[in-house]
């Protein structure tokens, strides 16, 4: 990008800044699109999983629904409730959006494709996401609404509780890669599944589990969606928000879904790594990255429409009493494992292949079970009811 601008006869400093702004704008466009499209994907998928249609009117398969929703929300009246803290009320959406959007700075879209490969990448990633808590707490507090306050407090307590296991769980991949730079973490894995961080040792599997559960909770997804528990708290911290301010909260929430999927992909699933002979093809690398991210996002949506909601005391218990000690266990286990085997790469490889094969067997059993269930359901739907059969 800079080289094109330099070619236009600009000075180097100007070209750099302009290039950075252009890149940021492109990423913003992507951010808005991915947030919007994911709302449509989620609604269609939930419709599919619950045997109903979901949005299917605007555009082919209802694909343009998210644009229609966005435009509608811009045209809606912007209300600030009586007695609210007006300044904080207006500021809150900004914090939520920044907290999610700024993570994209260090996200490697493929090998070599990154906005800024910071040497503190992953640490920056964890710290900038904390801004979301401030936004949520601000929104909950400033609305002068009991539901909002409760939702905001719950959200803050939940997000900070799960930040600890996520932060500790991510130490395991850092132990292995020995760097915080996102490209470095990605490059320390290979394109083969048993080179991925996830399958490297039993402790990385544990760390992945902790990270994934914690990320679901940090993104306020079911089974951890207590802050927005619509059956108890109306809409949680964004009860009083209308129009585009409300849209900003939702945009950042769904874009966060993508960000969680992308981080999982990069840290645990090998990111956009390619086999040696085609490693120069950045388009393929990008595609691999998006494919993996899409799969993780699908998994998260699937979990949402499968599991019920936790109760708050169970939620806190899970974080502090199970995930936190487990995170320490994973850290020390991995450190010991590395100390024992760092001179024996063959043992490490054997372990990785073994875990990968176990994973494949479990996957096969799961698919088998699910297909049996689907078959049984189909026959039970098509056969007449016992009462009718007796007539």
């Amino acid at each position: 990008m800079e080289s094109i601008l330099l070619g236009l006869g600009l000075e180097e400093a100007t070209a750099q800044i302009l290039g950075a702004i252009l890149k940021a704008l492109i990423v913003l466009l992507f951010f808005v699109t991915v947030g919007g499209v994911l709302t449509w994907v989620e609604r269609r998928l939930s419709g599919f999983m619950q045997s109903r249609l979901g949005p299917n009117r605007v555009g082919p398969q209802g694909f343009l629904q998210w644009i229609a929703d966005g435009v509608k929300l811009v045209f809606k009246e912007d209300l600030v409730p009586d007695g609210a803290d007006r300044v904080l009320f207006r500021l809150a959406p900004y914090f939520c959006l920044i907290g999610v959007f700024c993570t994209l700075v260090v996200l490697p879209w493929g090998s070599g494709i990154i906005i800024a490969d910071l040497n503190v990448g992953l640490f920056y990633f964890i710290s900038i996401t904390s801004l979301v808590v401030i936004g949520v707490l601000m929104a909950g507090w400033s609305s002068n609404n009991k539901w909002s306050l409760l939702g905001g407090m719950r959200a803050a307590a939940q997000i900070v509780s799960y930040e600890i296991p996520v932060g500790l769980g991510l130490l395991v991949p850092i132990l292995i890669s020995g760097t915080l730079s996102m490209q470095g973490i990605m490059a320390s894995q290979g394109w083969l599944p048993w080179d991925w961080m996830l399958f490297k040792s039993p402790f990385t599997v544990l760390s992945f589990f902790i990270f994934f559960v914690g990320s679901l909770a940090e993104a306020n997804r079911i089974p951890f969606d207590l802050p927005e528990a619509e059956s108890e708290l109306v809409s949680g911290y964004c009860t009083e928000y209308t129009g585009f301010r409300y849209a900003v909260f939702f945009l950042s929430e769904w874009a966060n879904l993508f960000v969680v999927g992308a981080l999982t992909t990069v840290v645990y699933l090998g990111g956009g790594n390619l086999p040696g002979m085609i490693s120069g093809l950045w388009v393929v690398s990008l595609l691999v990255f998006f494919l993996k991210t899409g799969l993780v996002v699908f998994l998260i949506i699937w979990i949402r429409w499968t599991l019920p909601r936790f109760r708050i005391d169970q939620l806190m218990k899970l974080s502090w009493k199970y995930l936190l000690p487990a995170a320490f266990l994973a850290f020390f286990g991995q450190a010991l494992w590395m100390l024992l085997t760092w001179k024996l790469p063959l043992v490490q490889l054997a372990m990785a292949v073994l875990i990968f094969l176990t994973f494949l067997v479990l996957l096969y059993l799961f698919i088998k079970r699910v297909s049996v269930n689907i078959k049984e359901q189909k026959t039970s739907v098509n056969s007449p009811l016992p009462a009718e059969a007796g007539k």
């Binding site: 811009v74 009246e77 209300l79 007695g83 900004y94 800024a116 910071l118 920056y124 002068n144 307590a157």
Partner: protein
């Protein structure tokens, strides 16, 4: 390298500008007919009782305190984790691991104390089974 960090500022500004400009454009497009009923606080259709800035549970403070301690700990853990691999290859691995373990152990004392004193229990004094059984009278789940 330093220029790389300025990307963060640019992203931050772009995010703020995006929201601000969209809201500004929306200002000329959207209706603005405030009324007493519209700006009333939502409370399931009833007239709101009392203010929204009500008291909230002490437990949120406790969670915040424990969080701050562990968050600082994580911040200290990251640097040593990054160099652990290098140390290991130079033969200092066991020493490094012992030192990390000592550091965590000191924190763990506090954690075990908090756990033992029930600081991590959300529903204090009532076991889970009781919380489900009681008809809501003792159920103090916020």
């Amino acid at each position: 390298m330093l220029f790389e960090f300025s990307n963060i500022i640019i992203f931050l500004v772009i995010a703020v500008v995006f929201v601000a400009v969209t809201l500004l454009v929306g200002r000329f497009l959207r209706p603005n007919n405030p009324s007493a009923g519209k700006s009333a606080v939502y409370e399931c259709g009833e007239t709101p009782v009392g203010g929204g800035f009500s008291q909230f549970n002490m437990r949120f403070y406790l969670v915040a305190f424990v969080f701050v301690i562990f968050d600082v700990e994580i911040a200290f853990m990251y640097p040593v984790t990054v160099v652990f691999k290098e140390l290991m290859e130079e033969g200092w691995g066991i020493l490094a691991l012992v030192e990390i373990a000592l550091f965590i152990l000191i924190l763990m004392v506090g954690f075990v104390y908090a756990w033992n004193q029930g600081g991590l229990d959300w529903v204090k004094g009532i076991s889970d089974e009781k919380a489900i059984d009681s008809s809501g009278k003792n159920l103090d789940i916020t």
